[in-house]
Symmetry: C2
Subunit: 372 residues, 2 copies
């Protein structure tokens, strides 16, 4: 007898024949609680707009409850969490995509900070140059409080996770296989540390082996979790280009790091740039582009302009704000005049902007908001 | 007594105090023969729209005819030609800019083919990578019949000229000093070969030493002669960025070659790309962008579509045209199906397009024009 509450129905939705993220989204639009679809009659299901016949059959005939219960037990034993679509921990940005998974398997924890996430993806056979750039970008983003998302593959992905961890930041690995095991195996140690300091997630049932055909679908979760995707090295057939395409579909920013002409690993990134991806040299180039998006997301409405910093604001924050109340300044000028480390200046500027104290004009010129 | 005909008045215009290319352009708009300005009264000159007082004085008081005559003699002795603005050899594209020089000093020859010119410029302290890219682009352009324009400086410029010559193509060096002498001195041999197989030109009187302040003005001639400017390696303070800016002002295409992030030599090129310059990996990327401009220039009006090739068309041309009458094809497909060398295919496609036999759609898809 199936349980009607708890996680089981969510896991079950992930096992219904023919039901993918798009079909699931249709269920969420029709049922207040999409797991009700599992207990609905075929004629009830026929009312769901655009639901395919095979999905209706799959739902109506679903019977794999034993496997679901078994999986729940295995998850419990392995310390793996389940995050259903209805769970407040389910990442808000991922919930908004056209084909979200019914639930996520989670090793580690998802936090509110992870709303501020940027993906770094690239070639498995990365060059020293690519690794170095991935390292610098991941460190820089982590030190500004961004969560670094990637696919835990060899090469660029692994370097991105590793560098975020080393900078003391958060990182999320999205696997194209069951979340209970590290893939690739040589990333066992990395996998464990990500689980402790960030999150390893997957939409695939426990025990799913790493099959190449699962990777493109996985890539939509990498972009779906992120404000933007940075492609560091990619051949013209790289999976990173799929992640970039997903990002575009989902309305996320696409960034690409150039490299030497003639290197096949740069060709994918160069193609993206020609198609309109932003050319990235450093973290500034990324933050500049996504800061407005972060501002827009602050409750949907921008904070009213304020003139007074809160009484508990740090001395460095006061210093920078005071400078900008005198003059509009470019980032470089703020760094120079404040005498503070560039990374700290960038973080403070971003925070002040998000809180509505600063306004950013083109050319990275910041000025203090006037009180209303 | 000054000569009233021949080259002397043109050389004199180049020596009038305060008269630059912009002022000269005003004279061309007012006088059918701009050298008449030298013999006009101050009150006549006051009729010229927008002519500055100091230029009027400079023209009215011009007296350096001895120096001009002396220069003419030196030019004759050194085998240097003078190409006045009114001369049919004066490059048509250069004549169209806002501030053309009254005359060019020329070592070598300017030909009708030079209308199809592309500039390649970049850092004097180029890397091996930059030199390699400059070489490949110059060779490729030369083998497609483009004249390669540059500034004969060390590094990228020298490599561009050298490679165009080696590919049997034409090349034009624009100097920021008197045209009678090679600058830099180690390019003596290159200078001589360019004079034999192309042209060395300058707007500066003979004997002008290479002074840094003349180089920005020289750069407007490099872009002015060209359909587009390719920047290969450039720091953020590079003169190549001035050439790129001139190109934009003159409505010419700007191309930039990316490189590794973090290398200061790539920073200028990356900035250009972010500002909208086209990222270039190979000659195709350049030709694709300027082909429509070449077409527009063919008498101002596109040739009416034709279905029949002329009876004297080469066998390879017939083969490619036949392929495209069957199907629209991408360049790669044309190369594959024709079995011809890529450079030859590109040249034939370009020629057929210019002659109105082919139409190019986005994505480099070519198709035969239907007969009207």
């Amino acid at each position: 007898m199936p349980v009607r509450d708890g996680y089981a129905p969510w896991l079950a939705l992930g096992r219904v024949n023919g039901l993918g993220g798009v079909g699931f989204k249709k269920l969420t639009a029709h049922f207040a609680d999409p797991t009700r679809a599992l207990f609905a009659s075929a004629s009830e299901l026929e009312q769901v707009e655009g639901l395919h016949r095979d999905v209706i059959d799959g739902l109506a005939n679903f019977s794999a409850w034993v496997a679901v219960e078994d999986e729940l037990r295995r998850a419990r034993d392995a310390g793996i969490d389940i995050v259903p679509f209805s769970d407040p921990r389910y990442p808000e940005r991922l919930r908004a995509i056209a084909d979200p998974p019914p639930c996520l398997y989670l090793k580690g924890a998802l936090t509110a900070e992870d709303q501020k996430a940027v993906a770094i993806v690239g070639s498995r056979s990365a060059s020293d140059y690519g690794r170095r750039v991935a390292r610098d970008l991941a460190r820089g983003l982590a030190s500004l409080g961004f969560t670094v998302v990637s696919g835990m593959a060899r090469g660029i992905d692994g370097m991105a996770h590793e560098s975020a961890l080393q900078a003391g930041g958060r990182t999320i690995a999205v696997l194209g296989s069951g979340v209970e095991r590290a893939y690739p195996p040589e990333h066992e140690g990395l996998y464990r540390r990500i689980g402790e300091q960030g999150a390893v997630i997957s939409e695939l049932p426990l025990g799913t082996r790493p099959m190449a055909f699962n990777f493109p679908a996985r890539n939509r979760l990498i972009s779906g979790l992120s404000l933007g995707v940075v492609v560091v090295e990619a051949t013209e057939k790289s999976g990173s280009l799929i992640t970039a395409a997903s990002a575009l579909e989902q309305g996320r920013e696409v960034f690409a790091v150039p490299g030497e002409v003639g290197a096949s690993r740069s060709r994918g990134a160069h193609r993206l740039i020609r198609q309109g991806a932003k050319l990235v040299e450093n973290v500034d180039d990324i933050v500049e582009e996504i800061a407005p998006q972060l501002v827009r997301r602050t409750g949907g409405v921008r904070q009213p302009p304020q003139r007074m910093l809160p009484p508990n604001a740090a001395e460095e924050t006061r210093k920078i704000f005071a400078l900008l109340q005198e003059n509009s300044l470019q980032v470089d000028q703020v760094i120079e005049r404040s005498g503070l480390p560039p990374a700290q200046v960038l973080e403070i500027l971003l925070d002040l902007e998000l809180q509505g104290f600063l306004r950013q004009a083109p050319g990275k010129v910041y000025s203090a908001e006037k009180s209303g």
